[in-house]
Assembly symmetry: C2
């Protein structure tokens, strides 16, 4: 499945900034960064469940927001990108 992961982490505290680094690391391990806090991840259901659980184990649900958009079949035709590519291109598109 192809999932868009978008997150907002409250970074008002040092602890929040730590959460942000951890969230970004997990997303980088499993997906491709396309914007500062938006990743795209191609994974089977079991791997997606692992990613979600890892992220839920890091974020503070009172302060942070995690959104998962499962794009479904034929997603390629339903994604549009305009403008600059993120400078932090992972080494390639990760899919599991």
């Amino acid at each position: 499945m192809f999932v868009v992961i978008a997150y907002d982490v409250n970074t008002e505290t040092a602890e929040g900034r730590r959460r942000l680094r951890k969230v970004a690391k997990i997303c980088t391990d499993y997906g491709q960064r396309v914007q500062a806090s938006v990743f795209e991840c191609c994974a089977d259901a079991a791997t997606f469940a692992v990613v979600r659980d890892k992220l839920l184990g890091v974020v503070d649900l009172e302060k942070d927001s995690l959104r998962f958009y499962k794009m479904g079949r034929g997603y390629e035709k339903r994604i549009e990108h305009h403008g600059a590519r993120p400078g932090y291109e992972a080494e390639g598109f990760l899919s599991f």
Copy 2:
């Protein structure tokens, strides 16, 4: 159609910060903010084309990034949210 709009606007300059305000205003006019730079918009194809053209008329394609994720049918079951709701809830879900 249900579209997720995600944007990254380079705000290193005053002009960039002006672009960001304009992008956020257009998205607020047509959609629901769900994260700092992620909106959800329920619109027909013609209205979506208007939104896209307005946004493309504001961003700097060299510096900024716009991504549109058209979720397709049955999107409700394919969106997961965990954590804090944005404090900037628009007055309700806008759909055209």
